[in-house]
Symmetry: C2
Subunit: 315 residues, 2 copies
């Protein structure tokens, strides 16, 4: 059942001993939402505990340093930013069909919870947490404000992407005006800082860039040999697929990673209006309009040729 803000606020104000679940591979938004919600419940004297099947990355320490909460027998189960209970990972078995309230902004939410507060137009679950806090009449702590700001900033690329809403900016204005959260330092750590190894790898990857279709398409092919030379595996290369989009004039960036001999994992990114989900669907894959993928078989040359043809029809 989908519910509105006031119903969700009522439920939260009257719950007790709550477990708050975040999704696997936790990011700024689900961590921000969980730790902000924990603060808000705490404001009303309601104790809660945050659980996740994976560890929280250390760069989010400034949010998680208030602790996940003490151990107790939960009376309430809440999920944040989880569109599908399979995203709970190993915790699905424990909580998958026990969620009473899900707070989420993914339009694809499967409705697995008893009650779902969903706003598919919100850029981040943290937006919803801010509105909930206001509806509940909670005063935000500085930590809570920092969590909400971080969730919104990370899900919008620091207010850069299409998904940024007027509400994001309105909430950021409120937080900057009223709380001393050190947002510039948060942004630096979320967006600008990389390890030396990462910087070196990105430079290596950029050297591999090839240009097609009058520079509208770039392809980076990373074979097993190259990965071995660079001392990285496929997962290290995550996030590199969007690197070519920083090149002037590029509409589509493709990263080809050799998975096994003759089998290639394709990551496709769109800079502007080309729908790469559609291109990948035709090639047997899928994804979002600006980030999609597929698996292709053949020689590297054949794979490239198919990709150039497919993109050529779309740009």
């Amino acid at each position: 059942m989908f519910i509105g803000l006031s119903e969700a606020a009522d439920f939260l104000k009257n719950c007790r001993d709550a477990v708050i679940i975040t999704h696997q591979s936790p990011d700024g938004d689900c961590i921000g939402a969980a730790f902000a919600l924990k603060d808000i419940l705490g404001y009303f004297g309601i104790r809660s505990r945050i659980v996740c099947c994976d560890e929280f990355p250390s760069r989010y320490d400034f949010m998680t340093n208030t602790g996940c909460g003490e151990d107790f027998e939960p009376q309430t189960v809440i999920s944040v930013d989880i569109a599908d209970n399979r995203l709970m990972g190993s915790l699905k078995e424990v909580y998958g069909d026990k969620v009473q309230l899900c707070i989420d902004h993914h339009i694809s939410n499967t409705g697995y919870a008893e009650m779902t507060l969903l706003d598919g137009k919100a850029s981040a679950t943290c937006e919803l947490i801010w509105f909930l806090a206001r509806e509940m009449g909670a005063e935000l702590s500085e930590h809570c404000a920092a969590c909400i700001y971080t969730g919104i900033a990370t899900d919008t690329g620091c207010f850069k992407y299409d998904c940024t809403t007027a509400d994001c900016h309105m909430i950021a204005a409120d937080i900057i005006e009223n709380y001393n959260i050190g947002f510039a330092k948060i942004n630096r750590n979320m967006f600008d800082v990389k390890s030396v190894g990462r910087i070196k790898m990105e430079c290596r990857v950029l050297e591999l860039m090839e240009y097609y279709l009058d520079g509208k398409l770039t392809i980076i092919s990373v074979t097993a040999d190259i990965m071995e030379q660079m001392g990285v595996d496929g997962s290290d290369l995550e996030g590199c697929a969007s690197l070519p989009l920083q090149v002037e004039g590029v509409e589509v960036g493709i990263m080809i990673k050799e998975r096994e001999p003759g089998v290639y994992k394709i990551s496709m990114r769109s800079a502007n209006d080309v729908n790469v989900s559609e291109i990948c669907r035709i090639l047997g894959g899928g994804g979002h309009a600006k980030a999609a993928g597929c698996l292709l078989e053949g020689s590297l040359g054949e794979v490239k040729k198919r990709l150039i043809e497919a993109v050529g029809k779309a740009v």
Copy 2:
């Protein structure tokens, strides 16, 4: 004379045949402010012309494409985002002592104009233009809203830096809510896109990085030889000084550029709390807390040693 918003609005509504001056090496904020102000004056039937001693870079075409305006004998002279009339470059001779209204956000404004609307707390002159438009009762065109958004976004690093105010976000919320300016595309072009040559150069520069003081200090030395090898000159390297700040743990990043044998131009950048203006002042230079510079003489080894010592005392 420093004046307030309502006086400036009155002046603007009652002026005619205005010249709007932007500063040399024009950036997103002065271009945005000038073209937004031209639209606003146009709303009241007042014609204006934009002048600059330098050309507007092509990446700002979406703002400048409304044109700089027809030729006429000016009755009013307005400057935007110009803290000191020397920043008019070659236009100082023509307009330097004739400015009736200066609209600016630099606390260092020299007060060269007859009337100055100054808000040193504003992140961008475009913030002031937005407040002026509201005070004047002008309806913004989409183009005008795009100009104001761009000025604010470029001066704040897309809402990332310390200088971002609650007003920036409030104005961005208003613009996103009410105007279809395609802000994500603007942000992509302002912040993400680089030329292939630039990307290659940045990678080369990053390879030159040396680490000192437990990784808190990085130094990149670009000698005349290296510049020749890379096929660039000192001005091409502009903006590279902040590249080392993306490295985890770095507090101060220094770029040393050989100006002539035995003379080195030092650019110093601070990631967080180290005041590099103070360090450069001691070394005979100056600047801002997070971006400063100086000129040092000696061998490259001596220059590095002095820099490491000076930074070592501050971190």
